[in-house]
Symmetry: C2
């Protein structure tokens, strides 16, 4: 950040009175520009036969690696609404009965990733601008070396564990 987004004057970095961290502040209009982590919200879509849906990324980063449908939560929506919207956008699936299964912080990237287990109402799904392939995988056939992101890998492993363990929400972080 170089300029105040409110008045256009150059910003400086200093700790405002009563605060404990340096911020971008505008000494012309007194605006303080906070920066905070963003939420990635997504789903583990489960087909009626128990297979799970994965998407092969059509965009960088990690193009052509497999992922769960997920993306940045938007202003004006809930975490669930964002997760279902991303699922539709990336796989044309209308997820139902969302249940939170993982919350993973990525402090090095200023992100928090949240995933919901959702039921697929049927076997309908399709490729989209963001996914050049979409397919269903048996739980013992997940393409682990080709999974795009560690939060997706960790969420999938947690989902596998939940097949034989009492339900709990994974609350974890990945440092680097």
């Amino acid at each position: 950040m170089n300029f105040c987004s409110e008045c256009g004057h150059p910003v400086t970095v200093k700790t405002p009175p009563g605060d404990h961290l340096p911020r971008f502040v505008c000494e012309h209009c007194d605006a303080i520009h906070y920066r905070n982590p963003r939420i990635i919200t997504g789903t583990v879509p489960v087909a009626p036969d128990g297979r799970i849906l994965l998407c092969r990324r059509n965009i960088e980063p990690r193009k052509n690696f497999w992922t769960l449908p997920a993306g940045f939560m938007e202003n004006g929506e809930t975490t669930v609404q964002g997760a279902l919207r991303e699922t539709d956008e990336e796989s044309m699936v209308r997820g139902e009965n969302p249940v939170l299964i993982s919350v993973i912080s990525l402090p090095a990237f200023d992100q928090v990733h949240m995933f919901y287990r959702v039921d697929m109402p049927d076997f309908n799904y399709g490729t989209t601008a963001e996914s050049n392939a979409v397919d269903l995988y048996h739980l013992d056939d997940i393409p682990w070396p080709d999974i795009a992101f560690r939060t997706v890998e960790r969420t999938l492993k947690h989902y596998l564990e939940l097949q034989t363990q009492p339900f709990y929400v994974l609350n974890d972080h990945i440092d680097i």
Copy 2:
């Protein structure tokens, strides 16, 4: 937002190619300025005798109403680290054994509130710049009419329910 925070030129509002929502974009340097929900992270501190800790707010909004320690998650930290930091800043309590108990979206405010149950290691706590009173409350003695925020009220009620029900994470939203 009026000006590009990168180059200082006026921004315009339009939907970038491949996007589905209007954004603040700079037609001078091509920067796209996304705005996303922020996370409020906090705790339900539980004393060794089962009472819970509440803080009376020393700042607006809702000054002099009672709340759970919580605040904006910062870049570079995890949701748990943020919750423990806010608990220390607002009540001088070092929470232990954090367990996620609620995730509540506030789409009208572009926020997600997350609360962790934490154990207090002892009966030590204190007032701070943000809390003009800090006290322990029996579960049947919570000052409901004086609770500052609905996410705090809902989280406290969920914590009460968990005393007699199997554990689960409340995943909810408040629309307006």
